[in-house]
Symmetry: C2
Subunit: 526 residues, 2 copies
């Protein structure tokens, strides 16, 4: 019998809070530390590994976390989700983003169709379209090949696909699968669209309009902006645009688009990178085969999330440790620190994924919870972050848990040897050094140069950032966020918190304001 | 008599903590709210205004903050700084970044020269050099004009200049002062340099190597990377490189560079955007006149920071409110949310500026403090953030104070009318709406759709983002961070927290490791 219970009503959570806190400065020192690094690691898909040796856990903590996983019925809840229960209770929707890359359980029928078949069909339709664009069978009106793809979308229709594009751009160039440059227009600030349009050759550009509802004001506004530019260039906009939307949206059957590809209400925006939302732009940019590999990587990681043994389930384990840090140790934020320039916007995507999913104060029944939920998420690539905000991470008054990511090899492979090491070795040496510096610290009589240590981190290590490992990485964080939502007993799949601002913005634009809102509107000259 | 005392030893701080907390949902409603928005605003330089109506302050709070400003001797400490006292006590250095854009007090002599004259001289030397590059008097070996400038630097030599470049790129193009495209190489990840080099025409590129000490390993490594690329292209690297460094650095008089421009030990990296560190790349990209306007804006704002009346000193006021939120109300983070795509990397610069300056646990005498200091700083441009992490800001369990920035006009000026409003109006309507939504909230019987409100924000409003307003904005945050450091009685001008990681990374590269560090090194294949 599955029960949805608040975290603070679980016996195992009370037990967890009584487990002695691990002193990282002690356990990570000497040979004991070496043993921990070897022991506290679990394999992920595609050769990745999740290493949590520098987290404040030991066998006692892990035993308590395993009990919590069981009492909170994490595996059962995940099964309910992928077998098609209405887990998004607020919006009364299924949650099916895993099905865009595989089938973990039962066939799920909705809207009169088998959903796995539906997502595969969209993937195939996109592949066919992209192949025809690359082959010059679909061209602009002058019969010339398209050279650039521009995604128009915001939030989940922007951050995930943009981060994935940047993550694979250099890999694709190196591996000769690079087909078209991609650009992104998201902000309603007119300078965003204007700057992107000034940087491209519109006559050879294809635009992907992404809006599930077909009513996102920012996106429709930017579509008009682009259509104006196409018209001013003497071009027929309908020969330059495709849509990614739901089948019921006004965009779905419009003559304004060369083609429309579909997602549905069961794919939340922030979980949509593996759906047509990511599929169209990534297939056009890198070829459908690369997008398929990305899905394969995600599907492989999803399978690991099925493991009931927490120690063999990196997502569940990461989620549990995060809740321990948040709700027992009381840490307010988490930093995501990839030692890979290609992952420069991956933290921004995770910021949305995590904060929009779990930044909630009520449980799934609409009752206020008595504990903190999702933390603030932020991050920048190392080594850049080291020369920026790491000062606070090392010596600030708050402890911020850290999530490192590192790869043994670079993507492009060009390198230089300075002082007997390559840049890639320097990069990796830095992340290894940081983990130990944060955990162990270093005593100094000059308190200004003293490092207390005891600052927990984990690291995901892989051979190379490529489509498969990127897919696995994405699925890891998606599933971690999902498991944390289960632990906090919240609905991670709605976002009611974005509504009030939209309502008030409409009132401002309609000049239907009074009080403070009217004065702000006047000050801003609206 | 000036005294450096811990925040919790000040009588006025104890009084502040007893002031009744303002209920924003009440005071920001109705006509009272309208009055607050008009009243709680203070002019900044260049037509900007700092509006703090949606902060949890009223006349009682402000009176207590004014007492705190006085007891903490904020104005006296700023005067000590700009008059040349050794305020950076840890490193025993003067703190003179204000002098790169003006002279606020006494002449300061150091290293045998008048420092204001020294900074002006460097600015003039850069202007002369940039003008010659633009005029085609300084060219590549083939006598062809340079078309691209590439900054090689990390941390303060990267984030500030990069954010300023992005902030002004479209403005300069629109106003016909755009001279050369700028690119930035920072990360020791070899893919960073390789990708930038693949995107430019090296034969027509001039590289700016920025390192105060001349020993920053990441930067020297990337310099070698670039030199290899130049050599492989059959080019003489010394005809393509300039250095920005201190006069005592090994780079200062090297034949490897076309020219060297100087900063000194009295300019911290994160405060160096107005020195030669920002000056070289920005003068080359936009012309020296634009850089001079940027300095003028910063200098004008600096003058406002001299006001002893807190209500006429936006930086002091912002700093005091921030300390109230951090140390009395207990909020752990602050979000910086510019409604301007051009400010896309401004939050990343402020993240370094703030967290590296004030992420400290010891006071300026090296004694542990008993209160929290610098918060986590993060942010993304609106409206993008609205579709990302604002869910947590509206409905999460932690309250995160917000710093909005908005401009009445866009930079490029191209716009489109959809549903009776321009994109720029939509952008501004959104920020106005968000302030009120965060402050007032909205009750709903469905707790999932309920907004508690009471979430404080401020906004800086201007006509347009241009060199002068950007300078004022930058100086605002630099001085805010400085005043907060005074309040917390910490040294905001050193960064000892970055040292341990450097030491351990060197050990890894020398294979001089044991324990956990050795195992991590093995896992990462170093």
């Amino acid at each position: 019998m599955m029960e949805w219970k608040n975290l603070d009503t679980l016996t195992s959570f009370e037990e967890l809070s009584k487990v002695a806190e691990v002193d990282l400065t002690k356990v990570m020192s000497g040979e004991n530390g070496a043993e921990r690094v070897k022991k506290y690691s679990t394999p992920m898909a595609e050769g990745l590994a999740y290493n949590y040796a520098a987290k404040k856990v030991d066998d006692n903590t892990l035993a308590a976390l395993a009990k919590l996983a069981e009492e909170a019925q994490l595996s059962e809840k995940f099964a309910a989700l992928y077998n098609g229960e209405v887990v998004n209770t607020g919006e009364k929707r299924l949650v099916l983003h895993h099905m865009t890359r595989g089938q973990l359980g039962d066939a799920v029928e909705a809207d009169g169709v088998d959903k796995r078949s539906f997502y595969v069909e969209q993937q195939n339709r996109i592949a066919d379209f992209a192949n025809k664009v690359h082959a010059g069978e679909i061209t602009n009106a002058a019969g010339e090949k398209f050279t650039t793809v521009v995604q128009i979308g915001i939030g989940g229709s922007d951050l995930g696909p943009r981060a994935m594009y940047l993550a694979l751009e250099n890999w694709a160039k190196k591996n000769n699968t690079f087909k078209m440059e991609a650009k992104f227009i998201s902000n309603v600030d007119p300078d965003d669209a204007a700057a992107v349009l000034a940087s491209i050759d519109v006559a050879h550009s294809i635009f992907v309009l992404v809006s599930k509802s077909g009513t996102t004001l920012e996106t429709l506004t930017n579509e008009s902006f682009v259509k104006d530019a196409l018209k001013n260039a003497g071009l027929d906009a309908s020969k330059h645009m495709i849509a990614v939307t739901s089948e019921t949206s006004p965009l779905a059957k419009s003559d304004d688009y060369l083609a429309a590809f579909f997602m549905d209400d069961y794919i939340g925006g922030r979980f949509s990178s593996t759906s047509a939302v990511g599929g169209a732009v990534l297939s056009l940019a890198f070829g459908p085969e690369v997008f398929a590999q990305f899905l394969d990587g995600a599907a492989e990681e999803d399978k690991l999330s099925l493991n009931k043994n927490m120690l063999e389930n990196p997502e569940m384990l990461d989620a549990l440790i995060g809740v321990y840090e948040r709700n027992v140790l009381g840490y307010p934020a988490t930093a995501v620190l990839p030692y890979s320039q290609a992952l420069s916007r991956f933290p921004a995507h995770l910021q949305q994924l995590d904060m929009e999913s779990n930044g909630k104060s009520v449980n799934r029944f609409g009752e206020s919870v008595n504990y903190v939920t999702g933390p603030v998420i932020f991050g920048e690539p190392g080594t850049n972050g080291q020369h920026s905000f790491y000062q606070l991470l090392h010596q600030g008054t708050d402890i911020v848990p850290l999530q490192f990511i590192g790869f043994k090899n670079s993507q492009i492979g060009t390198d230089v040897v300075i002082q007997d090491s390559t840049s890639q070795q320097k990069l990796c040496a830095n992340v290894a050094a940081q983990i130990v510096a944060f955990a162990c610290g270093k005593a100094d009589d000059d308190r200004n140069k003293n490092f207390e240590g005891g600052r927990p981190s984990s690291i995901i290590i892989g051979e190379e950032l490529n489509p498969k490992t990127l897919g696995a990485l994405l699925a890891h964080f998606e599933n971690k966020v999902m498991f944390q939502g289960f632990l906090w007993n919240i609905n991670s799949f709605d976002q009611e918190g974005v509504q009030l601002g939209k309502v008030l913005a409409k009132r401002v634009l309609a000049h239907d304001t009074d009080g403070a809102l009217k004065v702000y509107s006047d000050l801003l000259n609206i």
